[in-house]
Symmetry: D2
Subunit: 427 residues, 4 copies
């Protein structure tokens, strides 16, 4: 299903009056700020959609499908992301997962994506599952495995994923490893680290010069005693040992309880080793809930560090880091879920852009903790939705993407086209 | 130090233009809602200030004093709360802690408080510290103690606290117990529970008919293995066994990591056993940070349950529960800290009042999870500060309490009056 | 595959010399204790095996099968438990899960079980998954559901499960609900509670007079914002409202981080509402690891409360509570996993039986915390494996069940009988 | 108070028969192991006692003194450690805290310590409290402070501590910083890191060539939003940037919930950057409970990594790392507390020494997870207390230190010598 320009225009027309009143109020409130510049940054900011988030997720206790219309193949996944991008003009990239999304004809897929204005973001390898007919099993790890033959299999898979990515125009590889152990004694931690490092080095050697490798970390799950890339400190060790093209990737849900993620982000930026981001939200563990649905203030604080840290290094916000959603759930229409996540991300980014940095620096310099808090809370408590909407409007998208999605009956159309019993590949 | 009416008026005059523009925009945005009713509820809502939050807090690693002017006695504590109440018209009560605040002349104290428009909220007993010259020690607990004589001492102290409260016009007793154990085996849990229950029953018997007893729970600290009123389930057990005048008191910082506090609140209201609230915020444990400084969305979600639950039982928001701040810290001027906490509470309450309950109920009924989230996020993302300010304006207080406090040099005045090396009693 | 008596005898013969030396040393060390009585209690103590633990478990990221031989049907599951029971004489019951284990011919199944010396423990209902062809979905809950028709379906399923249980000689129903919500606002907590309570009441009404209903609680997963039976306090509320036949069931993995489970156990026993236990171990969440593999001291402390609390109420250890394992994992042979879990449970139980209660009570009475700790650590640090082994020996089982299982090549035999690509129903 | 050789001899005589029986049983059980070698390692292993653990600790809620006899000065603290060392021959070092323990006459103090067989372990600086008359305050941090003058003060203090240490024969400095922030926005994380690094570099420059600097990390407390050396990853960053003499120090209580500390230990050893250890135990946070009182299996797993990792690098167990207790509590006699901690440490060390490494490596190599667990549990479940006692016996100390301490009425003697109202400096 495609959304026509005139459908968007019609939708925007009905909301324009209210929107302009809100925007004009906001501009008045922030008259000392160059709002146009902020809007342009919002226009430029694009968040990649992972192919696996387009279908219903599940838990080990089962999976409840939505009413249908899930994308059945890579083409339909691209179509779904195209739909999102048409609605919000902020989802201009897709992140594929190999082997769930192996393109048969990369050129054709590339031009299909281009027709929706989409690029290919990081490609993701998968060594946390065995594929049918796989010669050796990843049951006891992949890059960490005690058996060299298993490591070799996993290395080759990653090299293959890079090749797939090259064909599509991707420029980064995300390596998330489930490697670890479930019971004390199962692993020699040091040897597991060394095996993993050696394996990563072989994959790294296959990277094109313009590529980045993202080493993702995760505290636990699916292994429940140790993880071989378990926290940012371990990921940074690998990245430093690998070389300049290797970076740490932060997924919001991959931390121990109460971790200060914004500080981790700031330090990784300081070290020049923050590579990218997986957005989602959680209350207990890697719950993969809609971004901003549980701890929106934390999301803002993270963006606050991102903006400050990238500006301090002269990094372009839109292009110097990999931005991606990694959420996937059961009880919502996946496309609506993604629209909500992106809205939350854009609002948090807008809030961070509007923080009065000069005043904040001065308050920090004076240890005026009360003022520091006031400055952050002031932008967070402000209603910035109208500049996010304005950015969409200028980019040709919808003032209210979710409403338009619903009003146009998108899910119903997708069901009509694809049927009711579709299941997207992925989690 | 007193703030004069004309100082407030002058302050408000300079901000009025901007305020009215914001308020009028807000009213436009919420034209379908009876904003006047909401403002009245905000005017009526009062949060008690605990006497111990007026001085600098500390940790076991030490205490860093502010520059001075801490209240040296109960009169000056009342003066401080009077100052807050003059500024925000939302702090119309004080909660005393015995023996830190024993009034020598209750009638005089009462009329002093009345002169500031203040009431006496819950009185708090203290059996977590030994007082100089105390015959027996609370080292191994108080109401739980294996030695009946220690229990008797603690019971008598609580009865004495009730008497003090009666003299001042309080109508509730908050019992927070540090009782518990630090090491496995130290306590027989069952006997500790039974001793505590028996002790509470004796205290309960001393309650006037119009009084409530609040049984506060806490997961840990200062005992680090078990706490004898450790969670809401235990508190509810005690409250149910005690009788109709006994209730559970929820302190936001007293939970295990990741607890869903808003659900606890909803269930206690359902059971008719929610008695009151201690507001603060935290990232790790009972950090006692400024309310709303870490998890403002959680604060809103809690108020969302409070409003829904109180309305369902026809309870008056302002009077049917005990509302109190229980925070205390080191790196802020305590009065500024309290002004920030109250602002955060009032905003969260305003957000909860504006939730479109009819739409929410309908969305819940349809399992439209996306819509449920949109409804809550809509009010949370709205900027409601102007109706909170309007409520203050109508009640004769300042549009911007913190700014006025700073502009008037209140801390400097207090230092001038009281000196630099004052130390308030308390934590 | 069956283990013959003479295979066990032969195995025991080779180990007997060493065993008797160890046992005799132990008896010397504990000469003041009636070791015979302890051994008899160990002989009597039986732990039920859940049918779903006999196959390989998995996570949402996938499932790695063992090399084969998983039971393909209820008969083979019974056979597996029979094998365990032959090896350790402590696994004399099986707990079925409906609809994974619907017996076509209950009488035949009963006599099959009897031939292995097995009873049928609690039957488990399943409303956390939709079954193929199910008319209505449990996607948004079952007993809590806003739609009465869904609740009815779930109620009827539970009533059906009771019927199945009656036919087999079970005497209890375990209700574990995944009901809850993933996002703030999704549920009205109070109504969800009330719906759940009403549904449970209808199920309760179908209980035979000699049956118990176990209301299991869980903090989170598969719902990641709230759970409608979320903690022991909520479970106890339901159990109290339901009546005398309703009890709380404690699963070790279903708590928030750092929870003091042993205290919960003590209080539930005090209230006469502890119904049963699901054993497993975990580091992060409901990891379902082998019992005793992560926190063996906690397991001992729990048994310490169980023994103390049951003795205080004159409850028979073996029969007054439901004892069951609920673990299931990926990286071990399930039968070996279960043998390790049961060994850990028996050791913890033995440790608890040997605690010097008189000395402990006296130390507690004197607040001699150091002595309390010494007393508990003394039994925990003692090597009690030989009395656990002696209990097995007397009951006709193997001195070293795991070694015998391996030496006899049990898995290999099972693969030979059942094939390599078997998959047991369950998680 | 001094313990005489003959008092120890007399005590040992009464216990010798039983001890020898236990030891001989143990030797039989472990006949394939060179037990003599293990005993010698136990004899060599010494754990430093921190001077602040000799008095009663407290919490922010207060402090309950013991009955008296706390050491009033550095001489009495040394006397206390001497007492412990006489009892267990495993406490042959003391770790001082400046300015709590400034020696007036270092030579005299040194020879006093030598008379008890004690060395001076790491010296500890204190920039988490202001000292009376201090020119500038550490309220907003020390080495991280925005004001260069405060940083200078803190640097100079550390340099002074090094000087004190040199005079006493210490060879390491432990830097634990409370530096961090309590509220979002308070700090610029990057600048705080850079300031801290610069400050540490100046201190590092003052280190003698044979000294080590230990950079301790802590997740939170007394700062409750961020800590500037917050986790092992941050500590390692500092240590690597500082140079070869800088190391990470691990305190067991300084982690987020559920952290896998043993893996951190293994990786730091791998990197050659593990410097030392602070032993204690905890259930919730930095509870500073007696080592081994809550999670003894975790303690064993940590020692298991230590032994494996040190052996892999050819490091001497006793001398290549700094071993220290850092616990301090309220409800026990501090000396008894320390005796219990050391016993737990020695047992865990003995367990780790007895792990069958060859079998473990082989099982790991085969991914035989069940066997890996069996191997670890076998040593953990064995009763190794008699070889720990034997090591004491050979070193001239008591078979049962705690019993001898009690039987000799040590606390009573100390009260007699020092009085009842003594308060040791420290937490």
């Amino acid at each position: 299903m495609n959304i026509e320009k005139n459908q968007i225009a019609q939708h925007n027309d009905t909301l324009l009056g209210k929107h302009q009143k809100q925007l004009s109020h906001l501009k008045n409130e922030w008259e000392s700020v160059d709002i146009e510049k902020v809007i342009q940054k919002l226009v430029d900011f694009q968040i990649a959609i992972p192919s696996w988030a387009l279908g219903t997720g599940g838990t080990r206790f089962g999976r409840f499908a939505i009413n249908g219309g899930e994308p059945r193949n890579i083409e339909e996944k691209i179509e779904d992301v195209g739909l999102l991008h048409a609605l919000n003009a902020s989802s201009g990239a897709i992140s594929l997962h190999i082997p769930w999304d192996i393109p048969q004809n990369p050129e054709q897929i590339k031009s299909l994506a281009a027709s929706y204005g989409l690029k290919f973001d990081a490609v993701n390898s998968n060594t946390f599952q065995d594929q049918p007919g796989q010669a050796l099993s990843y049951k006891f790890g992949s890059l960490q495995h005690v058996d060299k033959a298993v490591r070799k299999l996993a290395i080759e898979h990653n090299v293959e994923v890079i090749k797939q990515g090259i064909a599509l125009g991707s420029e980064s590889l995300t390596v998330w490893l489930a490697d670890g152990s479930c019971f004390p004694g199962q692993l020699n931690f040091r040897k597991a680290f060394e095996n993993t490092l050696n394996s990563l080095q072989e994959i790294y050697a296959a990277l094109p010069a313009n590529w980045k490798m993202f080493v993702e970390y995760k505290a636990y799950e699916p292994n429940f005693y140790s993880t071989t890339v378990g926290d940012w400190g371990q990921s940074l060790l690998y990245a430093n040992k690998l070389g300049e093209q290797a970076y740490t990737l932060v997924d919001l849900g991959h931390h121990l309880p109460n971790a200060n993620i914004e500080q981790i982000v700031a330090l990784l930026l300081m070290e020049g080793k923050l590579g990218g981001f997986h957005f989602n939200d959680s209350k207990y563990g890697d719950d993969d809930l809609t971004t901003g649905s549980i701890k929106p203030y934390q999301l803002f604080l993270i963006f606050n560090e991102l903006v400050e840290g990238m500006d301090a290094r002269g990094m372009d916000h839109a292009t110097s880091l990999g931005w991606m959603i990694d959420a996937s759930h059961n009880v919502k229409d996946p496309l609506e879920d993604l629209l909500q996540s992106i809205e939350a991300i854009m609002i948090a980014y807008a809030q961070a852009l509007l923080v009065d940095r000069k005043a904040l620096t001065e308050a920090q310099q004076n240890n005026d903790v009360v003022a520091c808090q006031e400055i952050l809370q002031h932008t967070f408590r402000s209603d910035l939705r109208s500049i996010v909407a304005e950015a969409r409007l200028r980019a040709g998208a919808a003032l209210s993407p979710l409403n338009l999605y619903r009003n146009l009956g998108c899910r119903k159309s997708l069901i009509g086209e694809r049927g009711q019993n579709t299941v997207a590949t992925g989690l």
